[in-house]
Amino acid sequence: MSMPKGHKSQFGYATVSSEEGCRGYREIAEIMTDDGDKMNHSTARNVFLRAMQKIASSVCNSYEHGEADKMAQDPRFQSAIHEIVASI
């Protein structure tokens, strides 16, 4: 029996490392660990996605859209939030 392949996002994966100042999950995990909050790259990703889900839930509630989880994982949503947060 083959191993489960996990979730594959319809629109690919969000990669922000090409943009200035943005960091990958491993780098985030290292910085957070150095600051006393021990975590590995998977935890960093989970924490990030949980934060995204909170933002997505707020957006979904306002626009009567029902799929906050999927929206949070969508790289297009993450990219849009990146743009908005940077402009605030």
Binding site: G21, I31, S57, S58, V59, V85, A86
Partner: protein, 251 residues
């Protein structure tokens, strides 16, 4: 009946010439016979009209095209050499086409192209048609440039210069009523709807950011490369290259 119809009727009255008649008239023209010259021109006006009609959808009026083709015909009559043994129409059609094409090229666009560039464009169109007919696909710019023996950048520049120009004051619909072209061109600014939506979204995101734990907030900032204080390298460590970039920006 319009003037043009009168003209066509008048032209139709002249019979076409046989090869022998053409030679006789040409010999008389050489001796300075004005009547023979007029007859040669009148008898071949049908040829000039038929060539002019092929260019009537290029944006020029048919009257102007016929006038230009007639000038080409006159030039052909003056230069025809009957000793070479060709029919007059074989020789004249090139002078007529040259005259009409020159008129079309200089009157259909506000951008004036040099003669060699117009010739190259013409060759390019003919070659593109032939290529597509033979291979079933349109040739690329590079292929055309290679076939024509010119640089691809030169060809691209000529094609760009030969584009149609449109007046911003021209009306979009038929007639002189309706919106002008300038009213239909997007101004590039965001619409009021988009701006309001964006402001609403910013408000929502701002509130949502307030509900994040300090840990989530920090991870998001690190992920997106955001920091409240760009000089606080301890809290949000950055590489020495990034510090250099920030310092460069300040200076």
């Amino acid at each position: 009946m319009s003037d043009l119809s009168d003209f066509f009727a008048e032209v139709g009255k002249h019979n076409l010439l046989t090869k022998e008649q053409e030679v006789q008239l040409s010999q008389r023209i050489e001796k300075g016979d004005r009547l023979a010259r007029d007859q040669m021109i009148s008898s071949n006006l049908r040829l000039a009209i038929s060539i002019a009609k092929k260019y009537q959808y290029t944006g020029c009026s048919l009257e102007d095209l016929i006038q230009e083709s007639s000038l080409g015909l006159i030039k052909a009559v003056d230069r025809f050499d009957w000793r070479k043994g060709f029919k007059f129409s074989t020789y004249a059609c090139w002078w007529i086409k040259q005259s009409v094409r020159k008129h079309v090229a200089s009157n259909t666009s506000s951008i004036k192209l040099p003669t060699h560039a117009r010739g190259l464009l013409w060759k390019m169109r003919v070659m593109a048609d032939e290529y597509e007919e033979e291979f079933g696909v349109a040739p690329t710019n590079e292929e055309l440039a290679d076939l024509l023996g010119v640089k691809a950048s030169t060809l691209a520049a000529i094609v760009k210069s030969a584009r149609w120009t449109v007046s911003l004051d021209a009306k979009v619909g038929k007639g002189n009523e309706g919106r002008s072209v300038s009213e239909t061109v997007p101004d590039g600014a965001e619409s009021a709807d988009t701006l309001i939506d964006r402001q609403k979204l910013v408000y929502i995101v701002r509130n949502a950011l307030g509900s994040l734990t300090p840990r989530e907030d920090k991870v998001i900032r690190l992920r997106f490369g955001l920091s409240e204080d760009s000089t606080d390298h301890k809290k949000y460590p950055i590489t020495s290259e990034e510090i250099q970039t920030l310092e460069d920006r300040k200076s």
